[in-house]
């Protein structure tokens, strides 16, 4: 139990919250990395998945990419990027790795969501004289929204986890508190950092959970 009280003491020491290595700065880095990478990933993945889903093409690619993504170790990709020229651009390797790992769930969920839209609804829309583009945006997209948002949620939680591992390869974020703790052989700091990261991940998951409950019923989907 002493470890927990030591970790608590570490967390409540105001000196550990201030400065460039402080908790506030690392928390902000983690948040900015997650949000920026989530926006970039969505901008890349969603248009591709929506068009592929609308056309009904490239399904094998969109679905298999998710399985391949699981087999590739995040840490290995981070280090590989670090040793390439991308490694010279500060947070470059972190951002590239984060985006790469957020793409598969976004692609797969959006594609599957678009394909699961009832074909008769799509045909009805076409029968009413809607163009392919109108059908995609006004009919298929809203109906696929629950699945798409579920993909965004998975991607966001994964981004938080990946941003943590990035610290092992010199990136910023809350993971840095843990790695610094290991370097100092300070178990209280390691545990305190881990508690912060775990809390951050659970809060992100919780925010999506609440947003889903507050969403209008048609955007919630059936579970």
């Amino acid at each position: 139990m002493t470890t927990l009280t030591d970790a608590w003491d570490w967390l409540t020491d105001s000196a550990h919250w201030a400065g460039d290595d402080g908790i506030w700065h690392r928390l902000l880095q983690h948040l900015v990395l997650t949000v920026v990478c989530l926006v970039i990933s969505c901008l890349i993945a969603l248009p591709i998945a929506l068009v592929l889903g609308h056309l009904g093409k490239g399904g094998a690619l969109a679905v298999n990419i998710s399985n391949i993504g699981r087999a590739v170790p995040t840490f290995a990709v981070l280090v590989l990027l670090l040793l390439t020229p991308i490694g010279d651009w500060g947070e470059g390797p972190t951002v590239v790795a984060l985006v790469l790992f957020a793409l598969p769930p976004l692609l797969t969920n959006a594609y599957v969501g678009m394909r699961e839209v009832d074909r008769s609804v799509v045909q009805a829309a076409r029968g009413m004289g809607m163009t392919g583009r109108q059908t995609m945006v006004q009919v298929e997209l809203p109906l696929a929204l629950p699945m798409i948002l579920n993909g965004v949620r998975i991607a966001a939680v994964q981004l938080v986890a990946t941003a943590t591992i990035a610290a092992l390869a010199g990136g910023g974020g809350l993971g840095r508190i843990i790695t610094a703790g290991f370097n100092l052989a300070s178990t209280p700091q390691v545990v305190a950092g881990a508690v912060l990261v775990a809390a951050f991940a659970l809060i992100v998951e919780g925010v999506f959970e609440i947003a889903e409950r507050l969403a209008p019923h048609w955007a919630r989907g059936s579970r």
Binding site: T3, L4, N67, R70, A71, V72, P73, T74, F75, A76, V77, V79, L80, L82, L83, V157, V160, A161, T162, T164, I165, A167, L168, A169, G175, I178, T179, G181, F182, T187, V190, V191, G193, A194, V195, V197, A198, A201, L202, E205
Partner: protein, 226 residues
């Protein structure tokens, strides 16, 4: 005075045959450690997940809490998970195994439970009508029918575990992750690339192996689909 050797190791190239031949033993040891950590973790995960899923199936009220707890565990990033277990296990291989067990639980419990729930009620009734007791029903009817779904979960858990082991490098027990970590600090490109590729190869081989096991265990799925 001999001139320094001018090979791919000296030039620090990404792909280097010299590396493979001179560091064979180091690579083998890392692969063995990687395989051991993965296999032990997933096996322990399976031993814990199976009764949990069976209990959650038997008592409906238990399903909610079991799924909720394992899902929350899955949300915690791997580096944080290993760090949270540090006071309990210290800098040991058990630390990595414990973390990976907690991750595989979500995937295994969820899939085994889904498989058990998908067993048709008529099938269960028929077995009961033939005089099967609850244990025999579970072992000879429900579990075999849940096997395809359970195996799907096992494959995902195995592949994820192979890639998560690398993060164990932070405590010095990361299998190929140790080589990646060391290679990062010394800027040793051949070592980082070789170890990374080996990780992916292990993941793919493990997946294919489990797929083969699944085919052997469930011959009836081929008969009906073929």
């Amino acid at each position: 005075m001999t001139a320094p050797p001018d090979d791919c190791l000296a030039r620090n190239e990404w792909i280097c045959g010299e590396y493979l031949s001179t560091r064979r033993q180091i690579l083998m040891d890392a692969v063995v450690q990687h395989l051991q950590l993965t296999a032990v973790s997933v096996l322990i995960g399976l031993v814990i997940a199976l009764p949990l899923a069976v209990l959650a199936r038997r008592w409906g009220w238990a399903a909610g809490p079991v799924l909720a707890v394992t899902t929350i565990l899955y949300t915690i990033p791997s580096l944080a998970m290993f760090s949270l277990l540090l006071p309990v296990y210290g800098l040991s291989a058990s630390l990595v195994v414990a973390g990976l067990v907690l991750y595989s639980l979500t995937l295994l419990v969820r899939n085994i439970l889904a498989g058990l729930r998908a067993v048709p009620e008529e099938t269960r009734q028929a077995a009961r009508g033939m005089g099967y007791g609850p244990i025999r029903l579970l072992l000879t009817v429900e579990l075999p029918l849940a096997l395809p779904a359970a195996m799907a979960g096992l494959r995902i858990a195995m592949v994820s575990a192979v890639s998560l082991v690398t993060v164990g490098a932070i405590v010095g027990h990361g299998g190929l992750g140790n080589l990646i970590y060391a290679g990062m600090n010394t800027y040793f490109k051949a070592q980082v690339l070789t170890a990374s590729v080996l990780c992916v190869v292990i993941a793919i081989l493990a997946d294919v192996l489990l797929l083969g096991v699944q085919r052997l265990l469930t011959p009836w799925t081929r008969a009906t689909r073929g």
